[in-house]
Amino acid sequence: MKNEILLSAFLGFLLLAGCGDSEVQKGPTPYEFPGIFYFPKDLNIPEDNLTTEEGVLLGRYLFYDGRLSGRTHQDSLMSCSSCHLQQNGFDTGFDHPEFTSGRPRGLAGTFTPHYTLPLVNLVYNTNGYFWNGFIEASNPQYGSEAHHVPAEPHFHMKNIESIVWMTIVDPNEINGSIEQTVQVISEIPVYPPMFKDAFGSEEVNIERITKAIAQFVRTIISNNSKYHQYIEGKTVLTESESRGMELFFSEEADCFHCHGGFLMSTYEFFNNAKDSVFTDPFDRFGVTGDIMHTGVYRAPSLINVELTGPYMHDGRFKTLREVVDFYSDGLVISPYTHPLMKYISTNGVQMSEEQKDDLIAFLKTLTDHQLLTDPRYAKPSDLN
């Protein structure tokens, strides 16, 4: 009896599914993320914004379209690509034509409080975005005074979507208004049909704009550096690079406890012994209120690190040499220093010049040259 019912139930399901299918309209095509065996399986994608081919394409246009600023005058254009350059691993980098110090300015001319973070492999980070991890799925906050985002229920602070509206209204970035952005984008003829393909109708609204851009950003994945090819057995490292790798992945120089794994970051938060006096209101303490989080920041991924300087949240180091010199003999203790900075008593790891060269040689194997020109992430050729 049981079996018969099960069978009829199963057949019923099949039939129902069949009927359903023929009536449903063709929607956007789900985007398939590559299955990279050594990267996390848990992707940071909110349930209400699944990734689709059409959404990603729209997002790519908006990411590169300076009119996202809600203005059309040549001097008032700004979008994500104004600060996040593909050629620099989607960081600002040393050689930005406009932001020559490597620190971006918004349209109102003021500096952003921190230096830029690169936009690669963000879909694998489930531990919070920004240097201080403020943008995080469990953040109950709506809006943000510091970024001039109103405390309304749709302005959550949970994911990449949130960063889009922050960018638009933040006085240190676009310094614009959401209404103006929506207005300008909806009046550009290419967009309404693209919104229709991605979201089912031509309506342009801020939710759709943020969703599309976030979808695109999530697809920026980097695993083609020399180091990753080495992991996959496709290439070999030079002797210097291998020695550098051993320094990196051992307690000798010990970088891997914080920047380890295949993403070159644990995405955990640490005070890495740069200071004994702390003045930045946007450290991890500013988010959690836990005194032990003073001067604490997220360890960034070191993929493309050769291109993502100036280094640290405040850009204090201009070159990789300066960074390595710091870890070698520039450490400063404070009550908040993380114990993984275990060479504090000697002010650092105390590396020889040759060891520093080796470590830097290894860090340079983390550059993903293919990503820097990958057409999937590049500015659409018909967008000017």
Binding site: M1, K2, I5, S250, E251, Y267, I333
Partner: protein, 273 residues
């Protein structure tokens, strides 16, 4: 079309009803299970450990504090006169991280057969076959990665990271990383890997269970015991790092094996009434 769907829905509905009623009859003959919640507690000198507090003194007389403890427990087995129960859930591996409070409880939702139990056996860390390179791709477990050149194919992950500070001979606050995992010894250009995981069996008493009980079973890590008995651990002698120091790791392992773990007060919650 619509009427066809309606009929189908009706058939489906009836089917589900019929199925659930069948199931009700079945429970009488199924194995009697209890729920098991294993709590992993960290103690300092007999009390719940206070993190980031420079209030502890080890056997060697070092004043120290603990910042965080991250470790793997695996192959948990409950044994009694008539029954041996091995957890199968999650490959019998659990990760504990004092920065992630929810990891301190492992709920064995598959249940445990009703029986009397007199001991619990656990493996500290991961046995060779469970410690393969690349086994964990997702955080937080993936962040326990142990370097390949000192761990080999079956030394993929730290067994434990216990980080803190001690006050050294010069009265300076020094970080220490008490990290345990597969050891490596180099001799004549050859590297030999040494498995350092261990099993302990801890006596306990669980009796007179009835089905639907929940057993709350605290497993206590006694932090100070890892730094004494039989081996006195002097941070000033050992220094801040031990991952490539098999002699030191062995000392820590032997201490942990001896009295690093104990069982706390077991609670049985009865849900019958």
């Amino acid at each position: 079309m619509i009427t066809f769907k309606r009929i189908l829905a009706l058939v489906l509905g009836l089917g589900i009803l019929a199925l659930t009623s069948c199931k009700d009859d079945d429970t009488k003959t199924s194995d009697d299970l209890v729920m098991l919640d294993i709590h992993f507690l960290h103690y300092g000198e007999g009390q719940p450990l206070l993190f980031d507090s420079l209030i502890y003194v080890n056997e060697a007389g070092n004043k120290y504090e603990v910042t965080e403890i991250q470790w793997f427990v695996s192959d948990i087995i409950l044994t009694g006169p008539d029954k041996t129960t091995s957890i199968t859930q999650n490959e019998n591996i659990h990760y504990i991280d004092t920065n992630i409070p929810e990891t301190s409880t492992w709920t064995i939702s598959e249940g445990v057969p009703v029986a009397d139990y007199t001991s619990l056996t656990l493996t500290f860390g991961l046995k060779d076959e469970k410690n393969t390179v690349g086994k964990f791709t997702d955080p937080p477990e993936a962040n326990m990665i142990w370097p390949f050149h000192i761990g080999g194919d079956n030394g993929g992950y730290h067994y434990m990271k216990l980080n803190g500070f001690w006050i050294d001979v010069e009265n300076e606050r020094q970080p220490f990383n008490f990290h345990l995992g597969v050891g490596s010894v180099e001799e004549g250009g050859e590297t030999t890997f040494i498995q350092n995981w261990f099993e302990v069996t801890l006596p306990l008493s669980i009796a007179q269970l009835s089905k639907r009980d929940t057993v709350v079973l605290p497993v206590v890590m006694n932090v100070e015991n890892w730094f004494g008995n039989p081996n006195t651990w002097d941070h000033d002698v050992v220094g801040p790092k031990i991952m490539k120091n098999q002699t030191a790791m062995r000392m820590g392992i032997e201490n942990g094996m001896t009295d690093g773990f104990s069982i706390g007060n077991i609670e049985i919650i009865n849900h019958e009434e």
